[in-house]
C-alpha cells in the first residue's frame, strides 16, 4: 500500500499519543482532579428577563478559514472570566 509522508508521521505518532492519553485518562479516573460542583446547572435559577441587542450589520466577513469555530470560542466555558465591562 502507498502511504504518503504526512500519513506515516500520523501513524508513528499514534504510539506516544496512546501512552500519554492512557496515562492522562487513568490519572483523572483515579484522582478526579477535574471534578467540581457544577453550580451552573445544579442550582435553582429563575430568569426574570433575558434580552440583547442584535446588530443590523456584520462587523466583518471571514473567507476561507479552516477552523470550524470562532477563534477564542468561550460560549460553553462559563467559568472563563473575560475583561470587566
Amino acid at each position: 500500500m502507498n502511504i504518503d509522508g504526512d500519513a506515516i508521521l500520523l501513524l508513528l505518532a499514534l504510539g506516544p499519543a496512546g501512552a500519554v492519553g492512557f496515562y492522562w485518562a487513568m490519572q483523572r479516573h483515579y484522582r478526579n482532579t477535574d471534578k467540581s460542583h457544577a453550580f451552573e446547572h445544579e442550582t435553582a435559577v429563575e430568569v426574570l428577563a433575558l434580552n440583547g441587542i442584535e446588530a443590523l450589520r456584520t462587523v466583518a466577513e471571514i473567507r476561507g478559514t479552516r477552523s470550524p469555530r470562532i477563534q477564542g470560542d468561550n460560549v460553553g466555558n462559563h467559568r472563563q472570566r473575560v475583561q470587566p465591562m
Binding site: L11, P16, A19, Y30, V59, I62, R66
Partner: protein, 433 residues
C-alpha cells in the same frame, strides 16, 4: 438663671447652614424618590443581620425531650429527625425555610441580608467554650472546633452549644444525615473497587472503609438576585466547501462576524459556598477538597432549625469565613451562572461566540449559615511538602460519592508505555505492509 445659647460666629467665612430651596419647608424630611437610583437603593436596602434565627428555648444548653424532659436526645435518620432515648418519643425540628421565610421573596431581595448565625466572627473569638451545666452546676468544656455537644461528667446530662456565639460555631440551620453509615461504607467500597488496579499498594493494604467519619461541614447557603451583561463577537457560517483532490481534500469555511450583547436579570436559590478557608481552597495541586465540593448540592430546603442534638455522634468543623470573604467567589459564580443562562439565546451563532467583556451587578443577597452532612474517608499519602490527604466523600443526603485515590505511579507509567508500544508496533506493521 439659664444663659442664652451662644449663636456662634456669624461673620464672613464662618460656617452657616445651607439656605433652603425656594418653597421648601424647614422640617421637610429627605424624600428618597428625589435621589439618584444608586443612593435610593442603598438607603432603602434592608439592614444586614436582619434575620434572627437563634432558638431561645435551647439557650441553657440542654435539649430536653418535649415529653419527658430527658436530655438523652439523638438524631435518628428518617422523617421525624429526633428521638428521646429515654421514652422513645420522636419529633422533628422546624424547617428553616418555613420558620424564617428563607425561600420567599428572592425576586425582591435588596442589599445584603445576613441571618444571625452567619454574622461576622469576632476577632477575639475562641473555639474552647466552658458551660455551666444547668442540671448540676458543674463546668463542662466543649471544643467547638470539632464538636458541638459534651456530656456533663457529674450528672450525665448532654449539653449542646445552642446559643449563637460569635465564634462562628453555631449556624442558623442544620441538614441532618439521611444516608446511614453502612450505606456510606458500601458506597466508598464500590468507589474504590472500581479503582483498584493502579491504586497505591499502601492505600489498598490500609483500606478500611468502616473508618469513615460523619462530619458536619460549614457552608453559607445564598439566595441572590442580580443582573449580568456580556458583550463579544459571534460568527455565523455562510458557506462550507472543500478544496484539493482526493487525499489532499480540505474543508474551508466562510463566515459573517456579528457583534453580540446580552443582558440577564435572574435569581438564584440556595447556592452553597464553603465557609471554611481550608475546605474552600480547591487547589488540586495541594489538596483534594475539590472532591468534597463535587458532591454538592444538598437538598438545603429540608434544613432544620439549629439543634445541637443532631450532632451527637458526629464531628463538626467550625466556620471561619465571613460574608465579606465569600462575596468575591459568590459574585464569580453568579457571573458563570449568568453566562450559562445566556448560552441558549446565542445558538444562532453556529460557529460560537467569543465573549470579551462582562459585568455582574448584585442587587440583593441573603446569607444563611448551615451545617451540611458529609461522610468522609481520608488517607494521608506521605510525600514531599507534607504529602497529600486524599478524601473520599459521600453526600450525607443524596449519597453522591466522589473521591481521590492515590496512584501507584510506576505501575501506571509501565502500563501506559506497554499500551504505547503495542499501538506503535501495530502502526509500524501497517506502514510496512
Amino acid at each position: 438663671m439659664a444663659s442664652k445659647p451662644n449663636p456662634g460666629p456669624t461673620g464672613l467665612g464662618s460656617p452657616q447652614d445651607m439656605p433652603r430651596a425656594p418653597g421648601q419647608h424647614p422640617m421637610d424630611p429627605l424624600d428618597p424618590s428625589t435621589l439618584p437610583e444608586p443612593i435610593r437603593d442603598e438607603l432603602l436596602a434592608t439592614d444586614p443581620a436582619a434575620i434572627e434565627t437563634a432558638s431561645k428555648e435551647l439557650r441553657d444548653g440542654l435539649n430536653h425531650c418535649p415529653k419527658c424532659g430527658s436530655t438523652e436526645v439523638r438524631h435518628r435518620p428518617g422523617p421525624r429527625g429526633l428521638i428521646c432515648l429515654y421514652c422513645r418519643h420522636e419529633w422533628t425540628a422546624t424547617r428553616v425555610e418555613e420558620a424564617f421565610g428563607l425561600g420567599e421573596g428572592i425576586a425582591n431581595l435588596q442589599g445584603t441580608q445576613i441571618a444571625s448565625g452567619a454574622r461576622d466572627i469576632a476577632a477575639d473569638a475562641v473555639g474552647l467554650l466552658s458551660f455551666k451545666c444547668s442540671g448540676c452546676g458543674a463546668e463542662v468544656v466543649v471544643n467547638t472546633e470539632t464538636a458541638m455537644t459534651a456530656r456533663c461528667h457529674w450528672c450525665r446530662h448532654v449539653l449542646g452549644v445552642n446559643e449563637q456565639i460569635d465564634n462562628g460555631a453555631v449556624p442558623d440551620a442544620v441538614l441532618p444525615f439521611h444516608i446511614r453509615k453502612d450505606d456510606a461504607v458500601a458506597r466508598i467500597s464500590q468507589f474504590v473497587n472500581k479503582r483498584r488496579l493502579f491504586a497505591l499498594e499502601a492505600f489498598k493494604d490500609e483500606f478500611s472503609p468502616e473508618n469513615v467519619v460523619g462530619v458536619y461541614l460549614p457552608y453559607m447557603v445564598v439566595d441572590a438576585r442580580g443582573s449580568a451583561d456580556a458583550a463579544g463577537l459571534g460568527e455565523i457560517e455562510t458557506r462550507r466547501y472543500t478544496r484539493g483532490q482526493d487525499k489532499n481534500k480540505q474543508t474551508y469555511f466562510d463566515a459573517d462576524v456579528w457583534r453580540v450583547q446580552r443582558h440577564v436579570d435572574f435569581t438564584v436559590d440556595d447556592l452553597p459556598l464553603e465557609s471554611s478557608a481550608k475546605r474552600g481552597n480547591l487547589d488540586t495541586r495541594t489538596n483534594t477538597h475539590n472532591v468534597i465540593n463535587t458532591i454538592l448540592p444538598f437538598d438545603t430546603k429540608n434544613a432544620v432549625k439549629w439543634n445541637a442534638s443532631y450532632l451527637v455522634g458526629y464531628t463538626s468543623e467550625k466556620r471561619d469565613r465571613d460574608v465579606q470573604h465569600l462575596m468575591p467567589r459568590m459574585r464569580e459564580q453568579m457571573l458563570s451562572i449568568a453566562r450559562a443562562q445566556m448560552q441558549p439565546s446565542v445558538r444562532r451563532y453556529d460557529r460560537g461566540v467569543r465573549w470579551e467583556r462582562e459585568r455582574m451587578d448584585l442587587k440583593g443577597t441573603r446569607w444563611v449559615a448551615m451545617y451540611l452532612p458529609v461522610w468522609l474517608y481520608a488517607y494521608h499519602h506521605p510525600g514531599s511538602g507534607g504529602g497529600l490527604r486524599h478524601y473520599i466523600a459521600v453526600n450525607g443526603r443524596t449519597g453522591e460519592t466522589m473521591g481521590s485515590v492515590p496512584v501507584q505511579q510506576w505501575k501506571l507509567i509501565l502500563a501506559a508505555l506497554t499500551i504505547g508500544t503495542v499501538v506503535e508496533a501495530l502502526a509500524l506493521w501497517f506502514i510496512a505492509r
